[in-house]
Amino acid sequence: MHSRREFLKALSVAGAGAILPASELLAQQPKFKFASKAGAIDVHHHMAPPNLPGAVGGIAAGPRGAQPAGAAAAAARGGARGGDARGGGAGRGAADAAGQRGGGRGAWTPQRSIEQMDKFGIGVSLLSLTQVGNVIYDNTEKGRAACRLVNEYGAKCMADYPKRFGMFASIPFPDVEGSLKEIAYAYDTLKADGISIYTNDNQGKWPGDPAHEPIWQELNRRNAILYMHPWVPACCSNLNYGAGSFMNEIDFETSRAVISFITGGVLFKYPNLKLILAHSGGTLPVLAGRMKDRYPADKNQYIPNGLWAEFRKLYYDCAHATYKFPWAALTALVPPTQFLFGTDYSPEPIESTMDNIPDLHLSKDVLDMLERTNAEKLFPRFKA
């Protein structure tokens, strides 16, 4: 690693071109690229609306919106990670100046996304917001205005590149009235493909809380596809155990939110909702057994076919969780019909997901499902 760091330092001093021939820089081919003509459908792809108050590069200010803890280190060492564990479009690592991973430095733009999508054989990306929970979930007019702003920004991306972008619109949780209005606007005016929610409402409540029920009712009526992105709750944003909350806390949240959805009876009462989880389900696949054995008995009416049957109805994007270990757990728990492709770009470089796929030795059938056919069933307008 040292020699690489020194190398990078040299690069930033002398300028890349002076050391490496340009051809060598450009020659970095992706380790894996989808081969189909239509390309993959990426359901976990973040936009960073430039004018969102309280956010920089699509990431909220403050500890919960901060860059992944590893970012600075990764940038400095430029080692295994190529310095690309940065947050949002901002804060790119030095290695990006030299290498091609992550698509270069500077602010995120839709063009940059498309460049990356082309590089990896991704046909369509469904845009959503990343870590801005405390901006849009503030339960005031400001939250409503922020959602409106980002949804219109996303709609503009869709209009500019109709074949490349879809959108999961945001709603201003836990503001029920504001959320209902935004749902109507998102579907009826902006023609969003689904609704994006965070795993908690930023006010200490999880999705199964009765306070949120009118929102689920309305989304059920609209047969909504819900894209659930983790957001570290206040309880766990500043635990002092040595790692940033992006290391673990974010994935714990997905399991909490799912069990809240189920024990709160939301998925039972509103069966038209389709729920997509990020990161191969976070921790859910490894804990599914213990979850079943700790399921509150007074909520059994919500799992007529058992808890696992509920887990098997959910969809799981594989963003940044195609490592062999989570994949082994996920594939043992749910059928391949539930897999979706995702990348978590640009907070995460696309390589973090794609580079591992060859090692999974997926059959052609499963790879097709992961790449696009499962997503086509959810989003038929993107059918090849």
């Binding site: 280190a73 290391m247 399991s255 809240s260 024990t263 490894v286 700790r294 399921y295 757990a329 995460e348």
Partner: protein, 377 residues
């Protein structure tokens, strides 16, 4: 106790059973029919590294758990949900307080030669940071040692320590090793005061354990931040395993293993969420921690040992097996908070190769605890 809503009917059922009404409630045949014993076929008998004693002088209701939400018994103990397929009636029929005799009966039933005893959800009793905490730990350790003496071929002991009282911890480590001859030191995943084991605060404890080439057995305790989150279930469903993951991360990224390489670390439940998240953890190593990870994060995490107690389900096992070296997985049951069936009933479905099964059931643990090498049933 806030888990009452979940446990009441079961408690009543148990009371009824305890009153000798078994046969009038269930047909006797039905009870017996449920009992398909998946006895282990480990040569020499298994070594169970995750087995709890419940010192009668400390335990609440004789179940070894502290009162309150964090010590609560598993919430889902009413009649089995038709749903879950294999629901939660206790197949071992455990009612009333834990006793060593009950444990031995269960061990014999399942083919377990040795259980290494530790204390379960007693963080509020043991981790008080005061004189009473020291006394409680001592009571628990002395009781565990008395069981080792009485059944030297059946029990080992992970001695507890009175965190966050570091002086008390150091004294107890000394007492545990020099007087009680424990097999390891058992800690919880946090000190019950908002600190995780990689915190500098713990340093003297690690120093001393390193000096003694100690084995650290780490059991979850839901931390105060996360004991009463209102998302539906009790903390026992998820928060225990989350805290395992936090504590492993804390130890690894803060360099405890780097500075104290003589300590061997063991944790439970197939590593909690560690095998699932370890890839993303690798990509989120905090600035400044690389110095502690000369061979990368995976290499450090793979030095851990995981017991498979209540986490031999196909999914966690697949992840743990894909990530961990095979000789770092050990058998455990989490008895008596968890029936032994929860673990052993999953094993046949895993279709483990015979040598792997033997290593998992016994020989991997023998390497850590060599005094049990010849101890067979």
């Amino acid at each position: 106790m806030n888990h009452d809503h979940c446990g009441t009917s079961r408690r009543q059922l148990l009371k009824t059973l305890g009153a000798g009404a078994t046969l009038s409630v269930f047909g006797g045949g039905k009870l017996l029919a449920q009992e398909k014993v998946n006895k282990l076929h480990v040569k020499g008998g298994a070594i169970d590294v995750h087995h709890h004693h419940a010192p009668p002088a400390l335990a609440n209701g004789g179940r070894g758990a502290a009162p309150g939400p964090r010590g609560a018994a598993p919430p889902a103990a009413t009649p089995p949900p038709a749903a879950g397929g294999r629901g939660r009636g206790r197949p071992d029929g455990l009612a009333g307080p834990w006793t060593p005799e009950k444990t031995l009966e269960q061990m014999d039933k399942f083919g377990i030669a040795v259980s290494i005893l530790s204390m379960t959800q007693m963080g509020d009793i043991l981790y008080r940071g005061d004189e009473q905490g020291r006394r409680n730990v001592r009571i628990g350790n002395d009781y565990g040692a008395s069981l080792m003496q009485k059944w030297p071929k059946r029990f080992g002991l992970m001695g507890g320590v009175p965190l966050p009282d570091i002086d008390g911890v150091l004294k107890e480590i000394e007492y545990c090793y020099d007087t009680l001859k424990v097999d390891a030191i058992g800690i919880y995943t946090n000190d019950n005061k908002g600190r995780w084991p990689g915190d500098k605060y713990f340093e003297p404890m690690w120093q001393e354990l390193n000096r003694r080439n100690g084995i650290c057995y780490m059991h979850p305790l839901a931390p105060t931040c996360c004991s009463n989150l209102r998302y539906g279930p009790a903390a026992a469903m998820l928060e225990f395993d989350f805290d395992i993951t936090r504590a492993v991360a804390s130890i690894v990224v803060n360099g405890v293993m780097f500075r104290y390489p003589n300590i061997k670390f063991v944790t439970v439940h197939s590593g909690g969420a560690v095998p699932m998240l370890v890839g993303r953890m690798k990509d989120r190593v905090p600035a400044g921690s690389e110095q502690y990870l000369p061979n990368g994060l995976y290499a450090e995490v793979r030095k851990w040992y995981f017991d498979i107690a209540h986490a031999a389900f196909p999914w966690p096992f697949a992840a743990a097996r894909a990530f961990m070296p095979p000789d770092h997985l050990m058998f455990g049951t989490d008895y008596s908070p968890e029936p032994i069936e929860s673990t052993v009933n999953e094993l046949p479905g895993l279709k483990l190769p015979e040598d792997f099964y033997q290593a998992l059931g016994r020989t991997n643990a023998e390497k850590l605890f060599p005094r049990f090498k010849g101890v067979v049933i």
